[in-house]
């Protein structure tokens, strides 16, 4: 860890001001940032402690939805009565992540912004275009076991590793972002994270000085809500593949299928074609298989992670079978 200045943000504008210059960095729970600072992957000049800003609340919104403050802890969100009742996929996704101790510290904003677990990203003497633009990608010809199969580029094949945001993508939640002055903007979670393209250093759309203030969930939609996380170790491990699903039936037909995938891309992966394909159809093994064909039509493995392609297919089938009560 390198020496840094520590500033406690008293107000939101203050936080925004302090994080605008390069080298200013906000810290919330610190569970991700501190680890990376110890490894010198992150070397901020100024650490801006936003943890005392009044952004930990969880409130109902006028349209029947729910607003989760950026500083609400993952634990507080997962046990919130309305989250458990109306957005169980979110509670399940959060509880599938990390450990109790980490979830007690982890925040909504920090979780959205957590960085990739790519092995080469965290080892500063290895090439990594994300950490050091232009240095190359260690993973592409290296060990890519935990890497992406969708939306990769020849510069970076990292994944967004988190669980919570996958559920938020399925729920079509919106990220609230405060910028300079009074400016706030709202970005759908589905558009919040970037694909690596030729700017692999960009994880998400946040600009310097922008602070996440909260996440809003639309009015509840009901349905069967599943978060399915596949991993070799049963806890304290990131997803190899995960699926967040909100599925509803109308008689024999699927009437809703909002799906998002973790562990497969640089962002929680949402493909609108899946819903188009599934809604209005009678669930069956063939239908699910076709859904997987659509999901994976551009999938590409990098050796060690080739298994994620069949694994994503199988997990999707399992989830859809479960959600629709179909025997396959």
């Amino acid at each position: 860890m390198r020496p840094f200045d520590y500033q406690r943000a008293e107000r939101l504008e203050h936080a925004s001001q302090l994080t605008r210059p390069e080298g200013g960095r906000s810290i919330a729970g610190g569970t991700n940032l501190l680890d990376l600072m110890k490894l010198q992957v992150e070397t901020p000049d100024t650490l801006v402690d936003i943890s005392r800003l009044p952004m930990a609340g969880i409130e109902d919104t006028d349209d029947g939805g729910l607003r989760i403050g950026a500083l609400a802890s993952n634990t507080a969100t997962a046990v919130h009565p309305r989250v458990k009742a109306d957005y169980p996929v979110l509670a399940r996704a959060i509880l599938a992540g990390a450990t109790q101790q980490l979830r007690n510290k982890a925040t909504t904003g920090g979780n959205l912004c957590q960085r990739t677990r790519c092995y080469y990203f965290t080892q500063i003497n290895q090439p990594c275009n994300k950490r050091e633009p232009g240095s190359g990608c260690g993973a592409i010809d290296g060990i890519a076991r935990i890497h992406a199969i969708l939306g990769t580029s020849d510069q970076c094949i990292a994944t967004y590793p988190g669980d919570m945001a996958v559920a938020l993508a399925a729920l079509d939640a919106t990220v609230e972002i405060a910028g300079e002055g009074e400016r706030t903007r709202r970005v759908p979670v589905r558009d919040f994270h970037c694909l690596p393209g030729d700017t692999p250093w960009r994880d998400n759309v946040l600009e310097d000085g922008e602070i996440i203030t909260g996440v809003t969930l639309p009015a509840p939609v009901g349905g069967t809500q599943i978060y399915r996380k596949v991993r070799e170790r049963s806890s304290y491990a990131f997803a190899l593949v995960s699926v967040a699903a909100i599925v509803e039936m109308d008689g024999d037909l699927i009437s809703r299928a909002d799906l998002a995938f973790g562990g497969v891309a640089h962002k929680p992966w949402h493909d609108p074609r899946l819903s188009d394909h599934l809604v209005g159809s009678v669930p069956s093994a063939e239908l699910f298989d076709k859904a997987a064909d659509i999901l994976l039509d551009t999938a590409q493995g990098y050796g060690e992670n080739d298994f994620k392609i069949p694994l994503a297919r199988r997990t999707l089938s399992a989830v859809l079978a479960h959600a629709t009560g179909t025997k396959i």
């Binding site: 860890m1 390198r2 020496p3 490894l39 010198q40 677990r117 092995y119 080469y120 080892q123 500063i124 003497n125 290895q126 260690g138 010809d141 290296g142 060990i143 076991r145 596949v230 991993r231 070799e232 170790r233 049963s234 806890s235 304290y236 491990a237 190899l240 298994f307 069949p310 694994l311 199988r314 997990t315 089938s317 399992a318 479960h322």
Partner: protein, 729 residues
């Protein structure tokens, strides 16, 4: 005074059983447990020493070549940096267990990625770490063809080979034959406490607080590294936060801290970062193991072949001894056992948690399961049928053999049904459920050891040895052996360990600690008993030591009358280790659930039945077994060191990415201790325990996966991708 015992004959007197105190074998909680859970047990790097500097090792960012220069001026100009220690005496890689001489030095000659080449010393750890990371090295890299052990030449270890009869012919003509190859990936010891040391130099004598398992060897290794006389070196390791083999030999941090302290005349602490531990500490070799069996129609073996390939750096003598128990476990007059070592530039391979059997036994037991299926025999029955009555190659007798009892007791307690073993019989929703079993075996080792026992004037006892307690319970079991022999409750016995100022114990490794130092303590206690009886004017054979009194009369303190009795006991295994085959045996039974979509496997029940001679403490023995079973689960399902194919570095360098089992992976496990006294194993009839608990367990899990879903996974760990790939659809 030193009393000595060199054991050449089995000792069937079972003297400990004739004692009256009744503390031996009791499930007494670990005496240092409270200190550990309250954070008051001081580990090596935690000693508060005024003026202590912090050192961090500079590592080579390539696998093979030579560092020709380090830009020390630039480093010295960095904030907080006090010195850069470049010294040809620095260790390039840690000593192998029991090496007893300086490990490989000349650190600038690099043979693996991440090799420490020098040390940056600074006022703070962060400054030292930053400087080490920024160090500019000039070097010549030699290209490494491949880091994959399957791609390179390998040489057969002739000294461990067995070639008897004609295996190929036996296989060709057998009623049932097996020819299969099983792969296992490398493991890290993954001890919780990283390697760390503090060295203090007073101009003449060196004291090092270090996290080491075998001080009796480590002191020689360190003194030899530094060209110092041994009596000028003192090592202290009172508590060790897990070793698992990774702290057997003197390690890079110990030598680096010592060199720095001697050069700078200030105390220096060197603690490896977690990443350095994963990158530089010894690995368990991956393995490729081919099994060829020939059996008659009943499954009785006439041919047994186990040929394995493991790897290590060039020149390293250690070869993961995967054949160790295959040597004697099962019948088969036509035998072929060969171990070959591929030379590759991954970091040193050495002892990690039950070297050899930890991966050899699971692989063997998968192959045996395949034979049981082919021959249509209950897998438990197949094992029993193939137990030889003496060593199948050299004809030596077994010292004691509890495999059959362990198999039978285990099967009964588990509710094993061996009649119908066809896979895919039980399903619960998405989950296939199945059971599997495996034998356990781990050779028994003992070593020379000394322990000092003092019966103090107040009638309490002190016990001293440089033996370590690496979390296994040594403090406690020594108090029990001495308490039993001298007729004292364990709270009247103060055990001090982990300091080379004390007599030389055996060190902790190869599960030999309890039997070795326990025997030395036993020898010392016999001498103390004789001396006290002499003072009391009675014959030792007529004496009963109990509750601090002799024959229920005078207290020890009264008899001692202000004096004390001070005896050192020395135990040494003599011809006995040559004359007998001594081993722990056991059986594992597992129940698993395998998800038919995702291939995820969860162990839902696990039982181990083990025979390891006398149980010195039921609780610590059971804990050792539970630890072994937990490692079995790790080896079966999650643990694998991953190496970058381009430069050979370890990519999963921390406990978030190197997956040891977490609580949720480990079900309630049952442990059965088979009653045994092994008279040829040690004079206290005890054998090694710790490692046995993982020698085969992963095989039981593999066989349960097959029984559950029909996936015969031939590479460990059996991660979801491998299970899916092997699953019949």
């Amino acid at each position: 005074m030193t009393a000595k015992l060199k054991q050449d004959e089995p000792d069937t007197r079972n003297i400990l059983d004739t004692m009256k105190q009744g503390v031996i074998g009791k499930p007494i909680p670990r005496v240092e447990g409270l200190a550990k859970v309250t954070g008051t047990a001081t580990y090596a790097a935690e000693y508060k020493i005024d003026g202590c500097l912090e050192g961090v090792m500079i590592q080579a960012p390539f696998a093979k070549g030579t560092v020709t220069a380090i830009d020390t001026d630039a480093l010295l100009a960095m904030p907080g940096v006090v010195a850069v220690i470049e010294d040809p005496r620095q260790t390039a890689r840690a000593a192998q267990g029991t090496a007893n001489e300086a490990p490989v030095q000349e650190p600038m000659t690099v043979t693996y990625y991440g090799q420490p080449v020098a040390l940056v010393v600074a006022e703070t750890f962060e400054d030292a770490r930053n400087a080490a990371a920024q160090a500019k090295l000039t070097y010549d890299i030699e290209q490494v063809g491949s880091f994959d052990p399957q791609d390179v030449e390998a040489e057969v270890q002739e000294d461990s080979a067995t070639r008897q009869g004609d295996l190929a012919h036996a296989v060709k003509t057998a009623a049932h034959a097996i020819d299969t190859t099983i792969h296992t990936e490398g493991h890290a010891s993954a001890a919780m406490e990283p390697h760390g040391s503090i060295a203090e130099w007073d101009g003449r004598n060196l004291t090092v607080y270090a996290s080491l398992q075998m001080l009796n060897y480590n002191i020689t290794e360190l003194a030899d590294s530094l060209d110092l006389e041994e009596d000028r070196v003192r090592l202290v390791s009172r508590y060790v936060g897990g070793g698992f083999g990774s702290k057997l030999g003197v390690s890079e941090d110990v030598v680096a801290a010592s060199l720095a302290a001697m050069q700078l005349n200030r105390p220096v602490r060197v603690v490896m970062t977690r990443q350095q531990v994963f990158q530089t500490v010894m690995r368990r070799s991956e393995s490729a193991q081919r099994f060829r069996f020939a059996a008659d129609s009943e499954g009785t073996l006439s041919g047994f072949g186990h040929e394995a390939r493991v790897s290590n750096l060039p020149q390293e003598s250690f070869a993961e001894p995967v054949l160790q128990s295959s040597d004697f476990l099962y019948k088969g007059e036509n035998r072929l056992l060969e171990l070959e070592v591929a030379r590759i530039h991954r970091m040193t391979a050495g002892s990690v948690r039950a070297p050899g059997e930890a991966i050899g036994m699971p692989a063997l037991e998968i192959a045996m399961d395949m034979l049981a299926e082919k021959a249509g025999v209950d897998p438990v029955e197949l094992r029993i049928r193939n137990i030889p009555d003496k060593h199948p190659a050299n004809g030596k007798p077994f010292s004691s053999h509890k495999l059959e009892e362990a198999l039978r007791q285990g099967a009964e307690a588990f509710g094993w049904d061996g009649a119908n073993r066809a896979p895919r019989q039980t399903r619960d929703g998405e989950w296939w459920i199945g059971t599997g079993m495996a034998s356990a075996a781990r050779v028994h080792n003992v070593s020379k050891a000394q322990v000092r026992v003092v019966l103090a004037a107040d009638g309490t006892a002190r016990v001293e040895t440089d033996m370590t307690d690496i979390g296994t319970g040594t403090y406690t079991i020594l108090a029990q052996v001495v308490g039993e022999m001298l007729g004292l409750e364990t709270d009247k016995v103060l055990v001090s360990l982990g300091d080379t100022a004390f007599p030389r114990g055996s060190g902790s490794g190869g599960s030999w600690g309890a039997a070795s130092v326990g025997s030395a303590a036993f020898v010392a206690c016999n001498a103390v008993r004789d001396a006290l009886c002499e003072k009391a004017g009675i014959n030792t054979d007529d004496a009963e030591f109990k509750d601090g009194r002799l024959n229920g009369g005078k207290t020890f303190s009264d008899i001692l009358d202000g004096t004390e009795i001070d005896r050192t006991g020395e135990y040494e295994p003599g011809d006995i280790s040559e004359d007998y085959v001594a081993s722990g045996f056991g059986a594992f039974f597992a129940e698993v659930r395998v998800n038919r979509f995702t291939g995820e496997t969860r162990v839902t029940r696990m039982l181990g039945a083990f025979g390891f001679g006398r149980v010195l403490n039921e609780k610590t023995a059971r804990s050792q077994c539970l630890g072994g079973i937990t490692w079995s689960i790790g080896a079966a399902l999650t643990e694998a060191l991953l190496f970058d194919p381009k430069d050979g570095h370890v990519v999963n360098q921390d406990l978030a990415e190197y997956h040891v089992p977490v609580c949720r992976d480990v079900p309630d496990c049952e442990v059965i201790m088979v009653d045994e006294r092994d008279p040829a194993a040690s004079p206290i009839q005890a054998k090694g325990i710790g490692e046995l608990g993982m020698c085969g367990g992963a095989g039981a899990i593999a066989n349960a996966i097959y029984n559950a879903c029909g996936a015969r996974v031939l590479t460990l760990p059996m991660t979801p991708d491998r299970v899916i790939a092997a699953m019949p659809d």
